[in-house]
Symmetry: C2
Subunit: 334 residues, 2 copies
């Protein structure tokens, strides 16, 4: 109502004072850039940090080219229960099984086809290689283009077991807002995840507005070779680089060559402690955000056995974001 | 004079025809974006390609986000005679020698300190490891920050043996123009070089306007670890990745995740055939540029023993740029 009144008034004649009033009302009416976040210390700290580093001439100003922000993916930008890329691997094994009748009697495929993924989890905990075997079979030995097609097929058809929607619909709204807010303030936003770089790149632009060149992830070394007379990149499982824990700073440095001033990760496995510590070591003003999953109603609640991420947050002064209290909504379809 | 006359005329009254005339004169008066290039088929082809891919609605239009351009560095963007990074390695060995009196009697250091780099070249040709040893000693076993300082020191003091200027002054003017021209047309410009990624990043922004995150190069794997209680990235010579030949497409894919539509390399070792072939395989319109060093007066003249790069250019229809005839000037201080 106020907006309409002002618009009509302006249509007749607008003094400088009226224009100034209109512009300040319109400012207040503007959507909160973090509207899915509840007011509180975490939201305030983010807004204050962005205000500080973008204020030219201010003591905490950071030039735009140094405004690098790195985000973990699983559990930070989207739901990681279950692990999406592992669901893709299972999906592929099932799709490939027709050409491999021997898999019915052969582990690890036998368990996967029988729907028993617990077998693989136990193998992984016991230091076995069956989990890696499943990942290799589903991710390597094909061209980059073929792999991309498989990933697209998966996202087009697969649905989350609890929420019954496509996995890409389970990106967290508050984080999408945060990414957009940072970009609007001339940050370059990156993903730095333990997830496969080729796997994520298929969906990051549509889902997060993050272009392929801003995605850092795990990878086996590709090989550029001729196949049937045509040069192509073929995916291998060799020289596997797992972009997790202390490898995250290495990946950031390799891909970006600058330390981030903003980094976000989550509590689960301690996988983001390295990245947040690296960001915290920046000589420029910096911000570390740790997502804590404590909302078993709207999403999931889980913790770390050794509490390492929360302990590191306390020791280094990172901002802990509790899903239950800090987020007004979690998914865009809430 | 024409410009002033038109401006005055426009100040009085401007018909549509006059405005059109003014705009076309002003267009002609604008500096040629490739002013250091001689008119000829190579320059025309570049201008035509950029015109085609930027014309919205045209049959060859490429959206800005797909306008990826990758450039080799040594011999393509700057002079590679002698190899700058090897000069840096020698510079470092000499600087470190005071702490290593044993090097006077120990190869490969003995030869380096005696100014006999031919010894290393022969060792390299014979498949020895002395060259790598020199690179490792000068490039690894220190923090990223310390290495950066050494590289900065080198560029501040070292001078090219023939041209007697800093190495960064030996970037090719026509290529600096080309980089700027592509960026002005919404291309993202990258370096994809066999040179060390950390070595190049120290100078690419000031020299070429190419930011660290757009540099792809060779690297040993860094390690993120605590040194004297402080977390840092330390450089190692392990898992050495040489970003040359068929590894260039692999590096481009890892860092960018898209095929370039423009790629430039040079004749010397066949090191850029892989990258140019990869670019040529793009399903979008693409352009491949091969720099041929045939100017022993203004720079250097050299060829490949097996002629592989020029043969590939002929077979795939790449554009060959001959330094002698295609470039009006070579260095900005000409």
């Amino acid at each position: 109502m106020v907006g309409i009144g002002l618009t009509l008034m302006l249509a007749v004649s607008a003094t400088a004072q009226e224009q100034s009033l209109a512009s300040s009302v319109s400012g207040a009416q503007q959507a909160d850039p973090l509207g899915s976040w509840n007011d509180g210390p975490t939201k305030s700290a983010i807004l204050q940090f962005v205000k500080d580093v973008t204020r030219e001439g201010g003591p905490k100003f950071v030039p735009p080219e140094q405004r690098i922000a790195t985000f973990d993916n699983d559990g930070t930008l989207w739901c990681e229960q279950p692990a999406v890329q592992f669901e893709f691997a299972i999906h592929r094994i099932k799709a490939m099984a027709g050409d491999h009748p021997e898999w019915k009697e052969q582990e690890p495929y036998k368990s996967v086809l029988a729907g028993d993924s617990q077998h693989l989890v136990e193998d992984l905990i016991n230091g076995g290689h069956e989990f890696l075997k499943v990942m290799e079979t589903s991710h390597a030995g094909m061209s980059q283009e073929e792999f991309d097609r498989h990933v697209k097929d998966f996202f087009a058809t697969a649905r989350h077991p609890k929420f019954k929607v496509a996995y890409t619909k389970l990106a967290y709204s508050p984080m999408l807002e945060l990414l957009a807010y940072l970009r609007a303030n001339d940050f370059k936003t990156y993903i730095c995840s333990g997830g496969g770089i080729d796997f994520m790149r298929v969906i990051t632009e549509d889902t997060y507005g993050i272009v392929p060149e801003n995605v850092i992830g795990s990878n086996g070394r590709n090989v550029f070779k001729q196949v049937d007379g045509k040069w192509q990149l073929s995916k291998t499982a060799e020289h596997l680089n797992i972009n997790d824990k202390t490898e995250k700073p290495v990946g950031i440095d390799l891909h970006i060559g600058r330390k981030p001033i903003f980094a976000a990760g989550n509590v689960r496995s301690g996988g983001d402690i390295g990245m947040l510590t690296y960001c915290h070591g920046n000589s420029l003003p910096s911000f570390q955000l740790l997502v804590n999953h404590d909302d078993d109603q709207r999403e999931f609640a889980y913790a770390e056995k050794d509490n390492a991420s929360l302990d590191a947050a306390k020791a280094q002064g990172w901002h802990v974001m509790n899903m239950k209290s800090d987020w007004k909504t979690i998914f865009s379809n809430d």
